[in-house]
């Protein structure tokens, strides 16, 4: 599988590490009233869809950037790749 890195172009997926659901970028506010429920959701619950999914990929054997990859988990088609710092 090739990932079209926004800065470096097409790179082999073996250079990357899959780091989970991109919802991890949105950490809940610990001050909110129902923060416990939100943190349980944030820490443990995943949708695991068969279809389009936003994922975090870390370019460990490359420029050490974090990417948000929108990928179809059924076909492995990659629809969009963005730098996590710019999302």
């Amino acid at each position: 599988m090739l990932i079209d890195h926004p800065l470096l172009g097409l790179r082999d997926s073996s250079e990357f590490i899959y780091m989970g659901d991109a919802k991890l970028l949105n950490r809940p506010n610990w001050k909110s009233q129902n923060s416990m429920t939100k943190f349980i959701d944030y820490g443990y619950l995943r949708k695991n869809p068969a279809g389009v999914h936003k994922e975090l990929w870390y370019h460990e054997q490359g420029d050490r950037s974090w990417l948000v990859v929108t990928r179809n988990t059924v076909t492995h088609e990659i629809l969009k790749v963005e730098l996590a710092r710019e999302t």
Binding site: L8, R11, Q61, G62, D63, R64
Partner: protein, 186 residues
């Protein structure tokens, strides 16, 4: 009491061999440092780089070679490496200048360098390197960080058929074996 002076061993002990007309040799350097650009200080770092090395800061995956032979290359948005083959005033003059703008880490002991040179070098590399090594994509002076045989490698193209590969010194023996095996498999 006698003064003891420690002498650093090269990771591959000065290795040099020719396999299938590919010259494989340890690339010797005095020091290798990494530079990190502090947040929102890219402009200052660009000026500092030019003042310190006499060359503009390279763009991502590009390199410069200073008049004194120092190789500088940029791996990512905020990460660069400087490799000093043998310039004597590097540690005393250049590094303190660079420290005024960059975060600096000495990585000399952490990496080994291997030069591979020869007409069939692409055939050898394409067996272990996932990058497109076509000159249109990976031109002379370009540099990329990638993975070869499960090992982290920084690859620099010096000429059409000569590359310098940097890999962690702790696994340099395994890396050299990959290169030798790939050279024999052409």
């Amino acid at each position: 009491m006698a003064k003891i002076v420690l002498k650093r061993e090269k990771p591959l002990n000065g290795y040099s061999k020719v396999i299938n007309k590919i010259e494989i040799a340890e690339y010797k350097f005095d020091s290798l440092i990494s530079l990190a650009i502090p947040l929102k200080r890219e402009r200052k770092c660009k000026l500092n780089f030019k003042n310190s090395l006499g060359e503009p800061m390279p763009s991502i995956e590009n390199s410069i070679i200073s008049k004194s032979g120092i190789l500088g290359f940029r791996i990512g948005l905020d990460l660069l490496f400087i490799c000093n083959p043998s310039h004597s005033s590097f540690a005393k003059k250049t590094v303190p200048l660079l420290k005024q703008a960059f975060y600096i880490t000495d990585q000399t002991g952490g990496w080994c360098g291997v030069e591979v040179d020869g007409d069939r070098v692409i055939e050898m590399l394409e067996r272990i390197c996932p990058l497109n090594l076509s000159q249109k994509i990976f031109a002379i002076g370009d540099v990329k960080r990638t993975i070869m045989d499960h090992l982290n490698v920084i690859i620099f193209r010096e000429t059409e058929k000569k590359f310098i590969l940097f890999s962690p010194s702790s696994s340099s023996g395994s890396f050299l074996k990959s290169i030798e095996t790939s050279s024999r498999n052409i």
